[in-house]
Symmetry: C2
Subunit: 111 residues, 2 copies
């Protein structure tokens, strides 16, 4: 089978993996940077900056939204996106926790 055996792992492991998956494409990281570089929501203009088709960008935005990393609202014929800071902080905390928990071990490089 090809379906990931997610059910066999802890919820924390699944959450981290899902978050990592949302970041696992340079286009989505670029989108987050673009959104963060603005003080306000961005309505349009995202497609113009990226070297991807409009439908592809829309797809990436949808994935970021599904992962909870960004918010999106409809503003007339346009759509506005901005970073969901609250969710981002929460999930960033989990990440930092993983790193720190890994790091607290003695860093013996034995191979």
């Amino acid at each position: 089978m090809a379906t990931a055996k997610t059910e066999a792992f802890t919820q924390a492991e699944q959450d981290l993996a899902a978050f990592a998956k949302a970041l696992a494409h340079p286009a989505r990281i670029a989108i987050l940077k673009i959104l963060a570089a603005q003080n306000e929501c961005i309505c349009g203009k995202i497609v113009d900056v990226l070297p991807l088709a409009q439908s592809t960008v829309s797809q990436h935005l949808k994935e970021l939204k599904n992962a909870g990393l960004i918010n999106g609202t409809v503003d007339g014929p346009k759509s506005c996106y901005c970073i969901n800071w609250k969710a981002f902080e929460k999930i960033n905390g989990k990440f930092s926790f993983l790193f720190s928990s890994l790091k607290t071990q003695n860093e013996k490089a034995c191979c």
Copy 2:
């Protein structure tokens, strides 16, 4: 086409995406935890803990190794793995930098 247009993005974005991809599966996060929880390299025993076939675990280990997150050496009939702390730190730093650079913006939630 289905190939990711990685060449269209910055090296930093690609690096982060590649790192995120390595973490984008609960099994690989679980493996990192297992490795970090030990003081020494782990020779064997990884397969026993995970609910996956031996070949699948070997595949995940290979991906972590390719991403530079772990080291692996052959020890007789067994293989020994441990976390590559140096690479991990470096890449973790990049991640933290992304987070902090995102966070330095004012966190206006406008949508």
